[in-house]
Amino acid sequence: MSSADLRDLYQQVIMDHNKKPRNFREMLDANHLAHGNNPLCGDALVVFVKMDGDVIEDVSFQGSGCAISMASASLMTESIKGKTLAEAEAIYQQVHKQMTSEDADPALLGKLEVLGGVREFPARVKCATLSWHTMHTAMENDHDISVTTE
């Protein structure tokens, strides 16, 4: 593997979302919230979700971590905002799938395909999945809960 693969991991989209994370803010009227921690790296974030019935009316996050974890969180908020719970769940499943195998559905992934770059970097998969696990946990619980990835 050469530095070409480094560019696969650190693609322009990742660098951009790391520098300027979207939906990076506290949400005071969130009705779902979860904390995500990666104790080995020190990555820590909070995901806020505001549900309106079955629809994700708003989603945001705050925290700190490596470029992969920050960009992944930012992309996550963009991709599920305005979606139904079932749609968000389907995206979550595809994102998860592409981290470990190549047979994820590109149509469902869209821009999120850039996160597939971590496949070649097993030690970094947890960086990319942290925000997604945290979001998933937030959806399943209406109270504050912590997620830890190793």
């Binding site: 050469s2 470029a67 960086c127």
Partner: protein
Amino acid sequence: MAAFDIEAIRKDFPILDQLIYDKPLAYLDNAASSQKPVQVIEAIDHYYRKDNANVHRGVHRLSQRATDAYEASRTKVRDFINAKSDKEIVFVRGATEAINLVAQSFVRPQTKAGDEILISHMEHHANIVPWQMLCEQTGAKLRVIPMTEQGELDLTGIDDLLTEQTKILAIGQVSNALGTINPVKMLTEKAHAKNIPVLIDGAQAVPHLSVDVQDLDCDFYVFSGHKMFAPTGIGALYGKQALLEEMPPWQGGGDMILSVSFEHTQYNELPYKFEAGTPHIAGAIGLGAAIDYMQSIGVEKLAKHEHDLLDYATDKLSNMAGVRLIGTAQHKASVLSFLIEGVHPHDVGTIFDQQGVAIRTGHHCAQPVMQFFGIPATARASFAFYNTMDEVDALAAAVVKVQELFA
């Protein structure tokens, strides 16, 4: 004295000669674990091929050879740190186990609520958590020698920290996260003036400095083999004989007894009293071989080359824009912790790896140090005597690569 022949030395470490992502490996993660010379690998190989048997038991020839080799290693360790007697050298799994042993067997029986344990802000978790456990068990209080922005101990209040309640001062000789060499001899003198015993965590010191426990006058000294070119799972506890004699065994089992009946068990003499169960015989033999190897070159010479590497790397990185060194103590060994502006250390680690440069990124099992500097992690290069100036150049080039990628 023969010249320091780096090429010959590198040939002794076969693992160093490989490509990582088509780039020559620059192994700069020695503070986490060091590589092993063929002399160590062959000593272990020889033991398993020719001498393998249990120690201190059989009358047969193999058991005798295994016992001789195991005990010869103990003598090498004793000589390596200049202890008075082989009885003062206890083989353990590593520095962590040794600290737990001292905490539970030496300190705990004489500690009560309100007593104090003194450590420093720059300790490895291995020299924090066993004491916290002891504090929970006894009601003692953990006190901490503070640290300066340079990553040196702040000793202005040391006389107030060493009190009549202090049951032990447990301090690292070299910080694994910062590389700081602490003035452990002076601290031992200060502690002893108040009759406070001292444990020195030498895990990061033995690969880089020559250690003389009689000169330091510490009561306990602990280290791990794997950071000094020996296998994992073996290390040593040095304790002054008079103290070890008084301490109860830590673990019970075979080998640590003279006689057992259901009414009474008579414990074995030192150091076997503390070596319950079949020990890591091959590991101890490997540790002895590592000591032989280091001494065959000369610890002072190894230290000098390493120091040159650290000076060169420090100079190089401190002159690079956007690089911040963490830990700039006046006296340092081996370790260069740093941050690259705007880039998380884990991204740094991944990009370095792609350049063949192996470093550690994270909190280095020293989270209080990270909290002190208000950072989640650092990137850490740590040198051993087999590293080269070219590898320092590769380190610097990798920094540039990171900066280009994140520009």
